[in-house]
């Protein structure tokens, strides 16, 4: 029996290695910082025969997503990746992927949005795509990126909804961390070959995404909304079975740290949530009963799991790395408040926006912010 291999590699390479182990067929790609190294790795793997797939070097992200959805409609397993303005440029086609029920998996390497330009991480890009009907994971380590891409393909293909796997530019994409690669036969056991119920097939001529009457359009949209909600048990099942096969666990819809007896709960996503574990330890040393709740799944927002996980009378400090324009804080705080309303009136929600455009979020900075928020 083959054993897992442990290497040192970047988050971007972790993503590419996961795509390779998922036996993806087609990868359309376009460069954008900080995602570029994923596409460079994919192109190299295809070129040197390490991966049996087609790399399509398209001329922009709108085309990258268009080629991805079309290849998926033809029956292929498809991956692409982007960042920031590239993701925004795809926006129209993201809707086609979800409305067309095409199980594309994409990495978005989070980066702040133009204007003005920034190269560094915040979460405005992925959160701006909340309403496109994609399932969205947010990851906090290189290993989680690898693991989540494999889980994402499984969920996407089970329910025919595209999945976006988000992680921070540079802090994850360009930093080396230990990475465990399970044996390929374990991955194959976890992720069976893609056998779509339907594909573009001349033996069965039919129209796809054709014009509808309202009486047909409305049920299509309702079905999409219902199925996005129905993906939550599939996300949990995928995480559990991945753990059973590989022994690795990043949480399912949520990930928690020292939460059970916490009176002060920090809530955040992506790499800052990994750093926050250290902030929690600092706060505990200072006598504050702190804990962490990290939504790994951001869309659908895991309402029930969050409601069940929060300790009685907790103060939740939501640290948003994005703006909810038109509201005083960030988007995660709004999402949280909407699920708590009428369900958990014992909970207090406080919110600060931080880390915009890559401002460094250290353990001490965040611990200090959380202490200060006690007085907000």
């Amino acid at each position: 029996m083959k054993t897992a291999q442990v290497i040192m590699d970047t988050g971007a390479r972790a993503a590419a290695l996961a795509v390779k182990s998922a036996r993806v067929d087609v990868v359309p790609g376009y460069p954008i910082t900080p995602q570029t190294s994923i596409m460079e790795a994919m192109a190299a793997m295809v070129e040197n025969g390490e991966m049996h797939a087609r790399f399509i070097p398209v001329e922009g992200e709108h085309s990258a997503m268009a080629a991805a959805v079309a290849a998926s409609a033809a029956g292929a397993r498809v991956f692409t990746a982007t960042s920031a303005n590239g993701l925004l440029y795809m926006h129209e086609v993201l809707h086609m992927a979800s409305g067309g029920r095409l199980p594309v998996v994409m990495c978005n390497v989070n980066r702040g949005i133009f204007a003005p330009w920034t190269l560094w991480a915040d979460h405005q890009d992925s959160f701006a795509q909340r309403d496109t009907g994609w399932i969205q994971y947010h990851c906090s380590s290189n290993q989680e990126v690898y693991n989540t891409i494999l889980q994402a393909f499984r969920v996407a293909e089970q329910i025919n909804i595209p999945v976006m796997v988000n992680f921070d530019g540079f802090a994850i994409s360009h930093c080396l961390m230990p990475l465990t690669l399970p044996p390929q036969e374990d991955i194959d056991r976890f992720l069976p070959p893609h056998e779509p119920e339907w594909r573009l097939d001349p033996a069965q001529p039919s129209s796809f995404s054709n014009v509808t009457n309202a009486s047909e359009y409305a049920p299509f949209r309702q079905m999409l909304s219902d199925d996005i909600m129905a993906s939550i048990p599939l996300v949990k099942q995928a995480a559990q079975e991945y753990k059973d096969i590989t022994g690795m666990w990043d949480g399912d819809t949520i990930d928690t740290y020292r939460l059970e007896d916490a009176e002060v709960v920090a809530l955040a996503v992506n790499s800052m949530a990994a750093e926050l574990r250290l902030s929690i330890d600092i706060l505990r040393q200072q006598g504050i009963k702190a804990g962490l709740l990290r939504p790994r799944l951001v869309l659908p927002f895991p309402a029930e799991d969050i409601i069940n996980a929060l300790p009685q009378n907790a103060q939740v400090m939501v640290l948003d790395r994005n703006y909810n324009f038109g509201h005083p804080g960030g988007i995660l705080a709004s999402e949280l408040k909407s699920v708590l309303f009428g369900r958990r009136n014992d909970i207090t929600v406080k919110n600060r926006v931080m880390g915009i455009g890559g401002i460094d979020l250290t353990r001490t900075y965040m611990a200090t912010e959380i202490r200060a928020m006690l007085d907000d």
Binding site: P28, H52, H62, S63, L200, P205, V211, T212
Partner: protein, 312 residues
């Protein structure tokens, strides 16, 4: 020898009962294209008249699997399907004769919003046939100007007649170094049929542009579609040509005009038949504006004649 209309196969890929206007040149052209492609093909459509006439979900008036895609994406979507089919064939998940991938796109989706994705697909030489059915305006949305609208033409967004000439899209595609480029129009069905049959046998990106005189946009009588198509060619306003690996040859009757064996008919008669030029022809500067249109045509003929002499 060009295939005659009587020799076209009986196979019909455009089924009866679709929603096109009477006399629709796009549907006429698609019918001929279908006879050449047969049923083993996958069709991509961007928003256009051919989407409006294909029938509402779940019905379909074309006998192919047909996917509607975002307006700007015909080139890249075609690439996605072409690569997916090739890799699935290599991996043994698809067997048999590979289907022909073809984009069926209007002039707006080709000259304007779809230009970038088409240019890139052509530069990559991905394996598909890209058809532009060119009715010289956004007819489906009620006739607005496009990059294919000729100078002087009235549209709802050029209420005084378009001031600029159209661009030579087929020539632009030729300069992408693709293996096959052709122009055609519905008055010459055998010519179109032969060009599609040839394109089908060539790997890589093939571009075929079909002039499609639209009675609604051009404002002529519905039964005169084919006649308008013929007049466009005879006046030299539309040139029939094809290029194998960059080598241009002209098809009859355009070849006679290019070689000087026959003069192009003056453009006046062609223009007079079309309501879209009427305002222009009634104005005080009518002579000058007709001369401008004639000048555009003469320039294209002269340019294409010389361009065809460049071979490698």
């Amino acid at each position: 020898m060009t295939t005659s209309i009587k020799q076209l196969p009986d196979i019909e890929q455009v089924l009866s009962g679709n929603g096109a206007c009477g006399g629709c040149p796009a549907t006429m052209a698609l019918r001929i294209v279908g006879k050449a492609l047969g049923s083993n093909a996958i069709m991509l459509l961007t928003p256009s008249c051919s989407v409006a006439s294909m029938g509402m979900t779940p019905k379909l008036g074309y006998n192919w699997p047909a996917i509607n895609i975002c307006f700007a994406t015909a080139g890249s979507s075609g690439s996605g399907i072409a690569h997916a089919l090739e890799i699935m064939q290599e991996k043994g998940r698809l067997q048999g004769e590979p289907p022909t991938v073809f984009c069926w796109v209007g002039d707006g989706g080709t000259y304007d919003i779809g230009f970038q994705a088409l240019s890139a697909a052509a530069e990559r030489n991905d394996n598909m046939i890209f058809f532009c059915y060119n009715n010289e305006a956004y007819s489906n949305t009620g006739v607005q100007r496009s990059g294919a609208t000729p100078r002087g033409s009235f549209t709802t967004t050029t209420p005084a007649g378009k001031r600029q000439p159209k661009k030579n899209m087929a020539l632009l595609m030729l300069e992408h170094n693709i293996p096959y480029v052709a122009t055609a129009t519905v008055a010459y069905p055998g010519d179109l049929y032969d060009k599609v049959v040839k394109a089908k046998s060539i790997p890589g990106l093939k571009y075929i542009e079909i002039l499609a005189p639209c009675y609604l946009g051009w404002q002529f009588d519905m039964p005169e579609t084919v006649q308008m198509s013929r007049m466009a060619v005879r006046s030299g306003a539309w040139l029939l040509w094809e290029a194998d690996n960059g080598k241009i040859s002209f098809n009859n009757p355009s070849s006679l005009i290019i070689s000087g064996k026959k003069d192009a008919a003056p453009v006046d008669e062609y223009l007079m038949k079309q309501g879209r030029f009427k305002r222009l022809l009634k104005g005080p500067d009518a002579d000058q504006r007709i001369a401008e249109i004639q000048g555009d045509i003469d320039r294209e003929i002269a340019f294409m004649r010389e361009r065809a002499k460049i071979t490698f």
